[in-house]
């Protein structure tokens, strides 16, 4: 059983983290949604963030991706030029640094086609602007062809082949989740943040999702996962952080976390 007080000793100490969250706090008025959170994401691993509803998991995601900036603390990401602080950056800048995300309540461009959704994801890796669009010189035509080709590849990767012409909003729920992942992958991330990807899925669907996450890992993308479905979490995580009332109360490997009394208490109440 790991201790919960020594927050940074749980993981291999000399490995270099891809992302470090250092004493991040987020307050909404008088409510502290996240208090002094510290965590590290190791490259090539699946790290999970679990906790009861309202524990502040999504708030932490929002702070990392810049959607709702943190009140205090530092968020560091390892880039080719060394560590870089990102807690003050705009969301689009953070995406360009290689951090992509999906949303708890799916946020697709629901009136656009499936293919166009993924094409938008390729935005940070392409460069045609206003004059390129109007004059359409050969390099822009080539870029558009490349965009279409790689968008189709991402669709195929996520098991959405043959769906490219559909309107995104009319896709079945499971496919919408996959499309959101395809769009996030299209931005070319090194780190993918998945916010409850298995929510509302039946067992067969979450098994498929597990396979997809494994494929994403194999392609060299680090995964940070919020999930309620314990089958998914325990199955795939290399390391787990447990958040309760905005504080990280436990961390460790799945086996360690499962038997941690504080985790059991947080999930089931102190009577147990």
């Amino acid at each position: 059983m790991t201790s919960t007080s020594d927050l940074h000793t749980g993981q291999a100490a000399n490995a270099e983290a891809l992302l470090e969250v250092c004493s991040v706090t987020k307050r909404f008025g008088g409510v502290t949604a996240v208090r002094e959170a510290n965590l590290k994401l190791m490259p090539g691993k699946v790290t999970s963030l679990i906790g009861p509803n309202g524990a502040g998991k999504t708030t932490l995601f929002n702070a990392i991706t810049g959607c709702i900036p943190a009140t205090s603390g530092q968020i560091l990401v390892r880039t080719a030029q060394g560590l870089r602080r990102i807690e003050q950056l705009r969301p689009d800048r953070i995406t360009r640094l290689g951090i992509a995300r999906t949303f708890q309540n799916i946020r697709l461009f629901s009136n656009l086609t499936v293919l166009d959704n993924v094409k938008v994801g390729l935005h940070p890796r392409t460069r045609a602007g206003m004059f390129g669009a109007i004059l359409r010189p050969p390099w822009v035509t080539r870029e558009e062809a490349t965009i279409t080709r790689s968008a189709m590849r991402y669709l195929e990767f996520c098991g959405l082949e043959g769906r490219d012409g559909d309107v995104a909003g009319s896709l079945p729920y499971g496919y919408q989740r996959r499309l959101e992942i395809a769009r996030a992958l299209a931005t070319g991330p090194r780190l993918l943040l998945l916010d409850e990807p298995a929510a509302g899925m039946n067992p067969a669907e979450s098994r498929d999702l597990l396979d997809l996450i494994r494929k994403i890992l194999e392609s060299g993308v680090t995964v940070f996962l919020i999930e309620h479905d314990m089958r998914v979490v325990m199955n795939i995580s290399d390391y787990i952080y447990v958040l309760d009332h905005g504080e990280i109360i436990a961390e460790g490997t799945p086996a360690e976390v499962r038997s941690n009394p504080r985790v059991i208490e947080a999930y089931l109440g102190s009577a147990h």
Binding site: R90, T95, N111, H123, T126, G129, G169, P172, Y173, N202
Partner: protein, 385 residues
């Protein structure tokens, strides 16, 4: 049908759907329209040709507003302000400083776009209704400035005596006929408007089907998700606002030389509302929608100047009683706005997505989800098939 016939037909259909064919059709129709009108309308041809020119000019404005409202999903209630800036810039440059129409129009587009950026940067952070209110305030500000800056704009007296555009072909070697001429006849005006409209359609179409257009549509659909895809929301919204303002200024600048006299009344709040109606009723977010909306609504307002009942009575001569009754229906030209309002209400009730909508928007506005709709099938069930 034999196989070769089918493939021939399908390749023919592909050509018809293609853009090259659409442009060919556009230029053919644009070239023939004045002659067609003359043949059909006879003595009221000048009315028809004037309406046609207004359709073209306001279609340019509608295409511009569509970039902000349709592509980007931001409500702009102050579009008339940009048209006014374009009109006065062109008027003053041509009359006071001897600019050619082409140079003046170019400067006007830049001037309009500049004000688009100046208005956009501080206000595009606002969302929804708040943004719409600020754009309304801006147009009032522009109108008030033009109305009170007597020394430059002659204020409420209006700004008369704007010269007509001149076409100068002397710089092209080998052109021997009519090297230099002034655009004065209604035919020449229509061809000028049609050419500029073609340019505007071309740009609007190219912008929509590009990386830029996708970024705009993504912002319209979900700004948070768009930013998570690495799209700089402020930059793209400001760009849309600037391009849109440039379109508005171009429309204003054509109006200035077409009417040769402009006043702030031409570009008041109602102008902004009308152009917005053209866009919404034509079909937001498409290229042809605003064009269709403008054509229908401008023609309608011009046609309803005359008592529609009396016009109907002329056609009903085979039923004298009805014709007689119709001829006695009282009418005031301003009553056309009542009919116009009724039409708008009917349109919003029965065809809210516009005349030529994009498919997705029509899907959103007309409820879907009947039995067997894929929305209600799970991924698991689909795989079982």
């Amino acid at each position: 049908m034999t196989v070769p016939t089918v493939s021939l037909l399908s390749s023919l259909a592909a050509v018809v759907r293609g853009r090259a064919f659409a442009w060919l059709l556009y230029f053919a129709v644009a070239a023939a329209l004045p002659f067609l009108l003359q043949a059909v309308l006879g003595e009221s041809f000048s009315w028809g040709a004037r309406t046609l020119c207004y359709v073209g000019i306001y279609a340019i404005a509608a295409l511009g507003l569509n970039i902000v409202v349709g592509y980007c999903g931001l409500l702009n209630l102050g579009f008339g302000g940009f048209m006014l800036i374009g009109a006065y810039t062109t008027g003053i440059l041509m009359k006071e400083y001897g600019f050619s129409f082409w140079a003046a129009a170019l400067v006007s587009v830049g001037h309009g776009a500049l004000w688009g950026i100046i208005l956009g940067i501080p206000t595009l952070r606002l969302t929804g209704d708040y943004f719409a209110i600020v754009t309304f305030g801006f147009s009032q500000l522009v109108t008030m400035t033009a109305m009170n800056w007597d020394r430059i704009t002659r204020g409420t007296k209006g700004y008369p005596g704007i010269p007509r555009p001149e076409v100068d072909l002397t710089w092209i070697p080998g052109v021997s006929f009519r090297h230099q001429f002034q655009i004065t006849s209604i035919y020449e005006y229509w061809y000028l408007v049609a050419a500029l409209l073609a340019l505007c359609l071309f740009v609007a179409d190219r912008l929509l089907r590009s990386r830029l257009g996708r970024a705009w549509q993504a912002l319209r659909e979900d700004e948070v998700a768009a930013e998570a895809c690495g799209i700089n929301a402020m930059w793209y919204k400001t760009l849309a606002f600037a391009i849109s303002a440039g379109y508005g200024a171009l429309a204003g600048s054509i109006i200035a030389t077409y009417d040769t006299m402009i006043s702030t009344k031409v570009f008041d709040f109602m102008t902004s509302v009308y152009v917005l109606c053209y866009v919404v009723l034509g079909g937001m977010g498409t290229v042809l929608g605003p064009l269709a909306g403008t054509a229908l609504l401008v023609t309608l307002v011009e046609w309803l100047r005359e008592n529609p009942a009396a016009q109907l009575a002329r056609v009903m001569s085979w039923w004298p009683a009805a014709a007689d009754w119709l001829a006695r229906v009282p009418y005031q030209p301003d009553m056309r706005f009542v009919l116009y309002g009724i039409l708008l209400i009917l349109m919003i009730r029965f065809r809210p997505e516009g005349l030529l909508p994009n498919r997705a928007r029509a899907r959103e506005l007309h409820e879907h989800g009947e039995a067997g709709d894929p929305d209600h099938e799970s991924l698991f069930e689909l795989r079982q098939r």
